[in-house]
Symmetry: C2
Subunit: 215 residues, 2 copies
Amino acid sequence: MQAVPKAEIAASAHDRVYRGLRTRIMHGQMAPGQALTLRGIGREFDVSMTPAREAVNRLVAEGALTMSSSGRVSTPELSNERIEELAALRALIEVELASRALPRAHIALIDRLQTINATIADVVSNRDSVGYIRTNLEFHRTLYLRAQAPAMLAMAETVWLQLGPTMRALYGRLRRSEPPQYHRLIIAALKAGDEPGLRLAVRSDVTQGLRMLAG
Amino acid sequence: MQAVPKAEIAASAHDRVYRGLRTRIMHGQMAPGQALTLRGIGREFDVSMTPAREAVNRLVAEGALTMSSSGRVSTPELSNERIEELAALRALIEVELASRALPRAHIALIDRLQTINATIADVVSNRDSVGYIRTNLEFHRTLYLRAQAPAMLAMAETVWLQLGPTMRALYGRLRRSEPPQYHRLIIAALKAGDEPGLRLAVRSDVTQGLRMLAG
DNA sequence: GCGCCGAAAATGTGATCACAAACAAGCCAT
DNA sequence: ATGGCTTGTTTGTGATCACATTTTCGGCGC
């Protein structure tokens, strides 16, 4: 019924729900403005309202969901000012993370980044926008993990989370056909140990997509 | 029993608890490692365990409290690496906020900052460390509110929250007797419209206190 | 004195329930 | 037909409870 009957780590119910909703939002599987109900979430994850409410409250606190004055929750529809602000936050934090990862970026990491980049080319040719968002985030997270800065990475992921539904709306309608050009620049700067070039490449990659939405 | 019997806005119970605990943590009224129980919180705020648990979960999600594997919560005891990281985040975000506030900083704002700064001198002479932390944060928040960047300000406040108990431990034992020198530099740079000077002053003010802790 | 074990108290978790507010749909009057 | 009112349904909120786990503490053996 509760606690942990399993011998394994066995995450709590509210954590399962939280993680499920979180990746769904971050990967752009929900459109902006989409509504959610506690009982519906409970049914879907086979839990009662209590853990569903905990998960939803946590996501609201992180800005991944918005709550109306009557308590109804839905994915946010961001204003252009908010989008610009979040893009600026991405640039600030992720440039710092990349810079801290640079001294520790060995060849194995660069190889992994190139593999992920090839996967991005695949999903782009398949017009799979949620696959694109997920793989793109994996590219960035793989790099930033090397920075050994968990608090900064958590901040960056919170920003990604807030932009999730907006990114879906963005990439869903612009239907790009080529992989992101700046990823190649990032890899090149990593290989060359070029810190200013890396900072510029990351900043460009982060602000590129969002610019056309706010324009 | 629930909902909103009052005619006013009437915040929900979990929000009252959340806000109460939040300011207590952010202002340094709790020592690092201090334990909390749901039933104790419920007794203190006169609510049941449910809203107490919601408030605690939210604070855990924001990094203001840590939860052991058995679910017990306490204020965090940060490692030096984590402190350095959070200080770097403060520097990144707050320098940007100050820079964005600069073009909108009129004389009324500067007057207000000087008033707050005078209050800081008072509480410092009274050896009131929680008053110092609260007024110092008020100084920064007053400036950053002018940046019109709510997402960035929320990020900065989350970092303050995580540093709350540590700041208490820090300022509680170093017993400074003079008001922060860099606040005067911030005000001077605002008056002169000197953006590089402002960035440097804010970065210095933010990293100054934490440096001696990690050293 | 010191360490270990077992019972009792404390604590977190999640299900269930009652209730108020919000929303939706239908109905009537004009 | 349309606007306002009413009723029924949906939804979030918070209290209460049962239960597993953890923690605490007293006592016993060595």
